[in-house]
């Protein structure tokens, strides 16, 4: 093994807020001393937009006409050309997370069409004979918590066959009544979504009740905006024919990396359309395949069951 390069960020969770000091050490370790042409450190933050094939067509999606937006990009020279002694060398660094006035440090976010990522790259340039050494390491940016007071906005809901949308033959649906409430329709992203749900009655045996978290990403480009809703996660909150009249908790932890507070910029938007508890039924108990197929269908029919239904705006 020759020389190895490593970056160690001081915070274990690698989470930083705008304006903070990103600090850590670059570790160079190797048996022998190593000659180099300089060591540099780069911080890079980009927003990648990928157009959905659905909205703009296959070709455009393939060409990826939207250019990545650079949020931050700066390099510092850590060490002048010279020589590192054998053994382990640690070079500490600090990077203030400031951006130019017209830019905002968006939160790290990994979506389908929108990707916001921050990386720290360390390059060691070496002479022609030896290969340059590079090490990249992702760090996470969270926006600073808002100061304003958060007021919960609870909401009650009822689901019956009549409230379902996208249903072709309403007559075929079994009768059911589900009531429930959410503790708040706007949530703090670090806190779980909570609520309760009661199956008051259901003609058919319930197979499963699931909670779907959907995000909406909107990408803007020359041709207009592309809006896409995709599922982030799907959590089962009831399995099997649950007891009638007994409240079942609704509880979901937001997957931090794949969600971010609702965000709107000129070029792209990320928001979440809400959850949808989807009861699924089986006409014949124990007949799995049919039941599943049915449940898929009801997921879609439920997801828009109330136009403009409780949209979530999350804030810190």
């Amino acid at each position: 093994m020759g020389t190895t390069l490593d970056i160690k960020i001081k915070r274990a969770n690698k989470v930083y807020h705008a304006g903070e000091m990103l600090s850590g050490v670059v570790v160079i370790s190797g048996k022998d001393s190593v000659q180099h042409q300089g060591l540099s450190l780069t911080v890079e933050g980009t927003v990648n937009l990928q157009l959905s094939a659905k909205s703009v067509g296959v070709f455009e999606a393939f060409y990826n006409s939207v250019k990545p937006i650079q949020v931050i990009n700066s390099t510092i020279e850590m060490v002048k050309p010279g020589k590192f002694p054998g053994g382990k060398t640690e070079i500490p660094f600090e990077f203030p997370l400031h951006v130019k006035s017209n830019k905002v440090l968006y939160e790290t976010y990994h979506g389908v069409f929108v990707n916001i990522q921050y990386t720290l790259r360390c390059d060691m340039r070496r002479s022609l004979l030896a290969k340059d050494l590079t090490k990249t390491c992702e760090f996470i940016v969270h926006s600073t918590p808002q100061k304003g007071k958060w007021t919960p906005s609870p909401v009650d809901f009822t689901i019956t066959p009549d409230t379902l949308q996208n249903v072709k033959e309403r007559a075929l649906l079994p009768k059911f009544l589900i009531r429930g409430h959410l503790n708040s329709t706007n949530c703090v992203i670090t806190q779980p979504l909570t609520g309760e749900l009661v199956v008051e009655s259901s003609e058919a045996a319930i197979k499963s009740i699931e909670l779907q978290l959907v995000r909406v990403e909107t990408c803007g480009c020359a041709e207009g905006y592309a809006r896409d809703a995709t599922e982030i996660q799907n959590i089962q909150i009831a399995d099997g024919d649950v007891c009638r009249g007994l409240s079942i908790p609704i509880y979901m932890v937001f997957p931090r990396l794949f969600t971010c507070p609702t965000l709107e910029t000129t070029n792209f938007k990320v928001g979440r359309v809400p959850w949808s508890p989807c009861p699924s039924f089986t006409a014949v108990p124990g007949c799995c395949a049919q039941g599943l197929a049915h449940s898929r269908c009801s997921v879609h029919s439920c997801s828009h069951w109330r136009p403009g239904g409780p949209t979530f705006s999350a804030k810190h």
Partner: protein
């Protein structure tokens, strides 16, 4: 050279003894003495009971002789403590004491009176089994190349390779169908192993996947009879996982040189550990399915300690609510059981969520009778009475957790709530198995009433009575109700048609009957059991239960005369017709007999019954019986034989031994014991007659001797035989049976050549020489007092034995033969004395027979000469390099013998001793200090009267200095 005077010096044994004896010190009783038994004081007993177990330290109080070993163990032996706490009779008391303790230390820790999950585990696995085929649906195959049975065109090798590829590819689904229960268990064990492997090889994600897949199996209720066992198997894996995660995070905190204490607070946990811990929780929170998400999160509940102080107390109620989402009532109650189990382990003080689990369960109770469940049962072809007991393990556990240290009010409330629900037999059963036994026992009559009211179709009633019986075995109901309870319960039990149901119930109630009633009631119960179990040989299927009944009965009736007067006891024993079981039962009976019988007995009832029992045990011995088993049986039979005594009726006693011999001829240790017993009997007789046998007693004693003489040859062990011959010969001699004694000694002599070089001791082959040496020394010293037979020559036996020793093939390079010859020299010296060192009362030894006759002495001296010549011959052969050390030490020991026993005024002997002294020192192999000591001894001896000649000798013995 003076042969007439002899080589041996004359000894005055009395004077020598007096001069050598240690000064006698009057012994003060009550002083410390190392061998004195250690008496266990009361304080120690108390300490034990305070620990939560009232181990019966009866050995200290009841028996006067205390075995120091057992008494040392008594207070602190952890094994007996466990045994004691498992003993149902003491459990109640233990619970009592620990409840008091709870008042003090605020029940923050689960005490030892809380029956742990581990003890339930095996029971569940044994009880809930199935013969139906099972299937495992896994996404990651754990086995390689086994599954495929399809005949494909591909070569076997290619196919296996492809399958392996499949295995490694994540998400390759594999459904294993048609597994037998054992296969299923093995497969899960494999998964457990691969979980550990994955963890060890740092594949944390794979480990998590395995755990998720496993817990997913718990949502599958096909083959519902197996579900409880499945739960046990899979939660084992979850426990392993929980432990691994906890330990991993814990070890991350240890990094910075300081080890976390057991009760750490979250502030002491470093960021990396916290981050890892959070990651686990986030990962688990995103598991799609409810049941795996629930189980996996519950399994790492303990890790909340790393994050915040209140973590667990926030998590538990949330998880409790989460269970509400599980539709299937069986799956949900097991989920609750798991949650309670983890909760009790991690945070036993959080009672609220336990209670909430209980009340939530009651809310969903009606689901059991709902359509969904009924449809499922019809589909699987399972009847309700066999479905409902599947709930019991989980319900029992939840109930037990809730009722543990719960105030009376809560228990009453729980009971009332249970009563209100329809078809509450299932609940009632769990209440009885989980609540404190005293709580149940005091309300037994109420419970009997409730049981009677229960719906017959649902939960089987015999199970309810069984649970009630179990409680009554632990705690006593009020005095006044006792008989009525028994009557009421037995009225129902006796009506049970199915022998299995019946015996399961009866087994439990026997304990109650034995505890509170006399032999009359026990007899009735036994009779009833016999009546139920005999038709169609039903007993064949219920040996374990019948065995347990016997155990319970004998545990309560220590007096065997009472026990055997229970008329139905022996007929009951006759039900054990399978030999192995029969022997087991016999062993139990004998163990209890040996343990509790204090006095020797001659009660014909006991003797008859126990002889029968012992005979059964003995007859089970065959060529395949293990050594250990034989030893055990022999120990038990010996214990019985030792306990039989007909007092002064010695003839009866002997005839008993004769009978016993004919019965137990296959067990060597028993025969040995019988021989010893008979010898003891002969000596007893002698003692009674004060040494003067009448004609009658002499005949009796001869009968005893004859018994031994004909019994010994049937033994196998050569040294057993030799020692018994010698021993019995001594007994015969003591009883003035001279010719018989001669016969014994001759038999022993003729046996010596048969001694093999190696003998088997405890399964290992060892050289026999040291044993032979020991035996021969013992033998020779006995021969001192054996008078010569008038028809044979002088010292007939000694010569005979010497010939045997001479001809015996000794180990090469061994000096044992010479050592024996040295002993013979000592013997011959002792024989030439005027009065011998010891005598047998009323037997004239050679000293009085010959009265120091010169011819006898001459014979004796001739023998001495021969033996000495042999010794010297041997010393000569040792003049080789490698043997010099042996030569030196043998020479010295020979020198010492001459010094002690020879008359050194004899010139030849004197010269010989000087030569030996030189020989010992010649090659510098000898320890100089020994030589110095020896010389000092000679000088000291020379100061005594008649020993003046030693001064001269001392001058001739130079000390060699090493230069």
């Amino acid at each position: 050279m003076d042969f007439q005077e002899g080589h041996s010096r004359n000894r005055n044994y009395k004077a020598e003894f007096a001069s050598c004896r240690l000064e006698a010190v009057p012994l003060e009783f009550g002083d410390y003495h190392p061998l004195k038994p250690i008496t266990v004081t009361e304080s120690k007993t108390k300490k034990v009971s305070r620990k939560g177990s009232t181990s019966s330290t009866s050995s200290s109080s009841s028996s006067s002789v205390v075995d120091p070993l057992s008494s040392v163990l008594d207070g602190t032996d952890p094994l007996s403590m466990f045994a004691a706490s498992a003993d149902p009779a003491t459990l109640a008391a233990a619970m009592d004491s620990s409840r008091k303790k709870r008042d003090r230390d605020d029940n923050s820790i689960v005490g030892s009176d809380f029956e742990p999950w581990a003890s339930k585990r095996g029971e569940i696995l044994a009880r809930y089994t199935t013969t139906e085929k099972l299937s495992i649906n896994l996404f990651m195959g754990s086995e390689k190349g086994k599954a495929g049975t399809a005949t494909s065109a591909m070569s076997e090798k290619v196919r296996t390779r492809l399958e392996e590829l499949d295995d490694f590819e994540e998400g390759s689904q594999k459904e294993l169908l048609n597994l037998t229960q054992q296969d299923y268990v093995n497969r899960i064990e494999e998964l457990n192993q691969s979980l550990k492997d994955a963890w060890a090889s740092d594949q944390k994600v794979k480990a998590l996947k395995i755990v998720i897949q496993c817990s997913k199996l718990l949502s599958d209720t096909s083959v519902i009879q197996f579900y409880p066992s499945k739960f046990v198997l899979i939660t084992d894996i979850l426990d392993t996982f929980g432990k691994l995660v906890y330990e991993r995070i814990f070890s991350m905190c240890v990094d910075n040189r300081s080890v976390l204490p057991d009760h750490f607070s979250p502030e002491n946990v470093n960021d990396t550990a916290k981050e890892t811990c959070l990651n686990w929780f986030f990962k688990i929170a995103s598991i799609r399915e409810l049941i795996p998400r629930f189980y996996v999160e519950a399994s790492i509940l303990k890790c909340n300690k790393f994050l915040s102080k209140t973590g667990i107390s926030e998590c538990l109620p949330r998880l409790t609510c989460m269970v509400r989402g599980i539709g299937d009532p069986l799956v949900s109650v097991y989920a609750r059981a798991y949650l309670c189990r983890v909760g009790m382990e991690v945070a036993p003080h959080l009672k609220e969520s336990l209670n909430k689990n209980f009340f939530d369960f009651l809310l969903t109770f009606k689901q059991i009778h709902g359509d969904t469940v009924q449809n499922q049962l019809v589909l699987q072809g399972v009847e309700l009475p066999s479905y409902l007991p599947l709930y019991s393990p989980a319900m029992d556990w939840v109930f037990q957790c809730v009722s543990y240290h719960a105030p009376e009010a809560l228990l009453t409330e729980m009971m009332e709530r249970c009563k209100k629900l329809g078809n509450n037999a299932l609940l009632l059963n769990s209440v009885m198995s989980a609540f404190r036994a005293e709580f149940i026992a005091t309300r037994s009559m109420d419970f009997i009433g409730m049981i009677k009211e229960c719906d017959e179709s649902g939960f089987p009633k015999h199970l309810l009575f069984r649970s009630l019986g179990l409680n009554l075995a632990l705690a006593d109901p009020p005095e006044s109700d006792r008989l009525q309870i028994l009557n009421e319960a037995w009225k129902v039990i006796t009506k049970l048609k199915n022998p299995q149901d019946y015996i399961n119930c009866a087994e439990v109630w026997v304990e109650y009957t034995c505890r509170h009633f006399t032999k009359r009631e026990v007899n009735t119960v036994l009779a009833d059991v016999i009546k139920h179990m005999t038709p169609d040989r039903a007993f064949e299927d219920s040996y374990p239960q019948l065995q347990s009944i016997i155990k319970k009965v004998i545990a309560h009736f220590h007096d065997f005369s009472v026990l055997f007067s229970v008329e139905k006891f022996l007929p009951f024993l006759d039900m054990f017709q399978k030999e192995s079981v029969r022997v087991e039962v016999c062993k139990c009976i004998m163990e209890v007999f040996i343990k509790h019988q204090q006095e020797p007995t001659k009660d014909p009832v006991i003797l008859n019954a126990l002889l029968h029992v012992c005979k059964t045990m003995h007859d089970s011995v065959n060529a395949l019986t293990l050594e250990d088993e034989k030893r055990m049986l022999a120990y038990l039979i010996n214990g019985f034989i030792k306990m039989v005594s007909f007092g002064r009726d010695f003839e009866q006693q002997l005839s008993f031994y004769v009978e016993a011999r004919s019965m137990f001829c296959n067990l060597e240790p028993v025969l040995v014991q019988l021989i010893h017993s008979v010898n003891r009997l002969a000596m007893e007789t002698r003692k009674v007659m004060k040494g003067n046998h009448s004609r009658k007693t002499a005949a009796f004693v001869r009968a005893c001797v004859a018994y031994c003489f004909i019994t010994i040859p049937s033994l196998v062990g050569i040294f057993t035989r030799l020692n018994l011959y010698l021993h019995s010969g001594q007994v015969a001699l003591a009883n003035q049976c001279l010719s018989q004694a001669d016969a014994f000694f001759k038999a022993a002599i003729s046996l010596v050549p048969e001694v093999p070089k190696m003998i088997n001791i405890d399964g290992k082959m060892r050289p026999s020489e040291s044993f032979l040496l020991e035996f021969l020394c013992n033998f020779f010293s006995t021969l001192l007092i054996v008078p010569d037979h008038p028809e044979h020559g002088v010292l007939f036996l000694v010569r005979e034995l010497l010939n045997v020793v001479q001809d015996y093939t000794w180990e090469e390079n061994s000096d044992e033969k010479i050592r024996i010859y040295t002993c013979v020299l000592h013997l011959l010296s002792a024989m030439s004395q005027e009065t011998y060192l010891y005598h047998v009362d009323k037997v004239d030894s050679n000293d009085s027979l010959y009265g120091g006759d010169s011819k006898f002495l001459a014979e004796n001296n001739k023998l001495c000469e021969t033996v000495m010549a042999q010794i010297l011959e041997h010393l000569k052969t040792l003049a080789k390099d490698e043997a010099l050390k042996r030569q030196s030490s043998l020479g010295l020991s020979f020198f010492n013998s001459i010094l002690a026993h020879g008359d050194l005024r004899n010139n030849r002997l004197n010269q010989l001793s000087v030569n030996l002294w030189h020989l010992a020192q010649r090659h510098g192999c000898v320890d100089t200090r020994t030589m110095v000591k020896t010389l000092e001894y000679i000088k000291k001896q020379s100061k005594q009267p008649d020993m003046g000649h030693l001064t001269e000798l001392a001058l001739r013995l130079p000390l060699q200095t090493r230069t």
